[in-house]
């Protein structure tokens, strides 16, 4: 009767429309405040990926893949990793690998402080989030291709 690829019921779709943006915002908050409160790159990246997966579960895979296709997720993942390696290499300016090379480390407990740690958090969150979404998308697409043959 109902095509299972069209997604879930109307209640789930309405609530998803309201909350998916807030989940994404919450994930970005956890990433950016990684040096002040618990969280950081890994946890924030997983929450950002979860917002996209939530979209995929509630609306079906075409809608979610139109927002972020699998090829773009792979490119974002590699970009996150290269950004992390570049930040680590820039530490050679200060003399050591991974050195915290910002001259002005800011006041503690402020948002713009602690040198390279927020930048590293952003790079890790890109990699983890995009990577997790790419894994999920590939598994969904593989299952779909297997059933159609």
């Amino acid at each position: 009767m109902k095509n299972p690829e069209k997604g879930m019921t109307l209640i789930v779709k309405t609530i998803t429309r309201l909350t998916v943006g807030l989940i994404l915002l919450y994930g970005i908050y956890i990433v950016l405040h990684g040096h002040l409160s618990p969280g950081g790159g890994f946890a924030g990246g997983v929450i950002i990926a979860l917002s996209f997966i939530h979209l995929m579960l509630a609306f079906g895979k075409e809608v979610a893949l139109k927002k972020l296709s699998q090829a773009k997720a792979s490119i974002l993942e590699s970009l996150g990793a290269i950004m992390f390696l570049t930040i680590a290499l820039l530490g050679f300016l200060g003399g050591y690998f991974f050195f915290n090379f910002f001259l002005h480390k800011g006041k503690p407990f402020a948002l713009f402080s602690a040198g390279i740690i927020p930048l590293c958090n952003i790079a890790i969150s890109l990699k983890v989030g995009a990577g997790l979404f790419a894994i999920f998308a590939v598994l969904i697409l593989f299952k779909g291709a297997g059933e159609k043959e």
Partner: protein, 112 residues
């Protein structure tokens, strides 16, 4: 002391799942239980008596903290466990496509 023994019991339950269950998905779940047990053990090692969460805040002075190093290490270990689980699940899906079953007693083409 009792919490360490309970972690070890959880590890043994996971090991029993990996060794004795026949369905591939149950083996993967057993692997997950083993990883949870080891991570939990590692975090519990850092407990200090009457310790508080190891977070510095601007307005209060915290004198007695639990050890923050195991918490940072377990974060890495959880992500490693996630990567291994994702890889093994992808392999399991392809095994189902090739062999047609999830029963490991029937997936035995390599012998000798």
């Amino acid at each position: 002391m009792s919490e360490y023994i309970l972690c070890f019991v959880l590890f043994c339950i996971g090991l029993y799942c990996v060794l004795r269950k026949r369905n591939i998905i149950k083996i993967i779940i057993g692997l997950g239980i083993i990883e949870y047990a080891v991570n939990l053990f590692f975090v519990l090692i850092g407990y200090r008596t009457h310790g508080r969460a190891p977070i510095l805040a601007k307005d209060r002075v915290v004198s007695n903290m639990v050890d923050p190093i195991p918490q940072a290490l377990v974060l890495t270990s959880i992500v490693i466990g996630l990567a291994v689980t994702a890889l093994i699940v992808a392999i399991a899906i392809r095994i189902y496509e090739k062999y047609g079953t999830f029963d490991i007693t029937k997936i035995r083409r390599l012998k000798g």
